[in-house]
Symmetry: C2
Subunit: 339 residues, 2 copies
Amino acid sequence: MAFENYTIKDIAKALNLSASTVSRALRDSYEISAETKAIVQAYAEKINYKANPIARGLKERKSYSIGIIVSEIANNFFSQVIDGIESVAYSKDYQVVISQTHESASRERLNVEHLYARSTDGLLMALSAETTDLSYLENLLKKGFPIVFFDRVPEQTICHRVIADNKQSGYQAVHYLAKRGCRRIAHLTSAQNLSITRERLEGYKMGLLSCGLDFDQKLVKYCRYGGLHQDEIDTAVAELATEDYDAIFISGDKLTTGYLTAMNERAGRDAHNIAIVGFTNSKVVSIFSPTITAIRQPAFEMGKRAAELLIQQIEAKHPVVDFETVVLPTVIIEKNSSF
Amino acid sequence: MAFENYTIKDIAKALNLSASTVSRALRDSYEISAETKAIVQAYAEKINYKANPIARGLKERKSYSIGIIVSEIANNFFSQVIDGIESVAYSKDYQVVISQTHESASRERLNVEHLYARSTDGLLMALSAETTDLSYLENLLKKGFPIVFFDRVPEQTICHRVIADNKQSGYQAVHYLAKRGCRRIAHLTSAQNLSITRERLEGYKMGLLSCGLDFDQKLVKYCRYGGLHQDEIDTAVAELATEDYDAIFISGDKLTTGYLTAMNERAGRDAHNIAIVGFTNSKVVSIFSPTITAIRQPAFEMGKRAAELLIQQIEAKHPVVDFETVVLPTVIIEKNSSF
DNA sequence: TTGAAAGCGCTAACAG
DNA sequence: CTGTTAGCGCTTTCAA
């Protein structure tokens, strides 16, 4: 019987009450006697009454759904973030609507407009690699529409942010490699306009400095689409091959697997004498070849925190004026140990 | 201006028309003069009017959203299927709501109930590894609620299905291995109750038969949760280690990477003298070690076809009575070539 | 403490 | 061809 579509009217009729009383009783309103409440709630339970969220949304101007916008769900990091988001949305009875940008700024804008028009109550998003114009998002924020950014966030905008400690990660990566004797550490990273790119690069530079290594611009390669297209990685790897480098720090999930793919393509030549530290949330790093040292982000936690911030803002009685930036630590995992 | 919330009333007022005329004009109704339509549509365009889907849904008893239920989005196969679904949903202006079962039957049921109550217009689903009781789904189907199954489908139920040619794949896998001299071909697979498990097993058996190889029950290992938990794979691998086998046919994405993980854990011992053919839609098979031969499902296509069937049924004027089973071919990809 | 009635934004009889 | 009106299921004044 879980699938009948009872309405408040059905309950009202059955119990000889008015629809409004039933509505109030179901929502535990103070104006209803305990007795009536009990009766109504018991009956609702019995027939497995489920409020029609469409109708409720129309009235309340709420949809009890939140939108997620990421570049790709086929990305270990993002899918884990989504799991985290789901875990809290689920417990607070929000529906989750996921959409992908495939790293396209125009697609991102369409998705935002769509989700906004669809009356999602708020948005959780990581910017696309292509995004540079944030003005339409800022307009939305200014109107008070709740948006929490994670991972790839606006840097100048006043908003909630949940990110990993990217600078520290870059710093650690370099130290890890330097300690193992590497002297020419390359850096493969995503689009220049992304916050993660900048922060990780900064950490990388700080790391080099503190290790007494020179920063060489030629050892830094950017991928405009974050490695979404293998050819941008192939190009970067080909360019790097002309420099001599003995290690590389890679700044993202797709880039890491893409780099390994490219290196395997170039055969044994230089594949196995370069030490690799790469961001990845893959759960099967131990089967990768060549072997790598992984930097993991607390993706699930990141999703949780972001969702909590969002729902908190959605349900806030007063406009939110205090915006938070949550920074979570990453973990570095030794060469291909399993975890 | 893309984000104002204009209503039909606003347009009606501005144009000195009635709301219903505007509504009809926007929906290109035959009763409205071309002239009026042009005026209305131009104005709507200009102010970037977007219909409120909540209100429309309430009236039409439709939500223009479809639900997707899979075990995990962090699975190459499923995420590619979702991409395919999105591509058609997007073009037909349906919102997509994704939820995960994590291979739990109770979670699956909750998700179905939730999505149904949320008035999604239909469901696209692959059954969880744990699912055995289909009665509640059959009730829904009987009521005419549109559900299209893909990949893991009910076998006895009258419904739309989109699947890969699993039997043929198993058959081919065995032939591939036998041709390379393998004689003791093991089979690592998912829960016994899943259609994919049965079909691939059947193909495997037919393959053995036609190659003059004996079927040995001890070489077949099931994983109740489809490899969601690494320990079930570890157990299976440990058991297999006591048999002597020279090849293995693996029946799913998670199982394939899980098997490799387990083998790597067991170190070089038996890792590299076993030929591996495994289902996987990973795009980075070439970096896996040990190397494998991959069976790829046309996941994107599968998602597309399933979504088309679903939307067709949703929009059908008359109850659908003709149910289809679409079978798509798989592709076998030579050892670690890149693609 | 309960009920009647209005209205959220939209669509669809029914009239004109 | 266009307008009036009612109503989808729910919440929420306002009255009783």
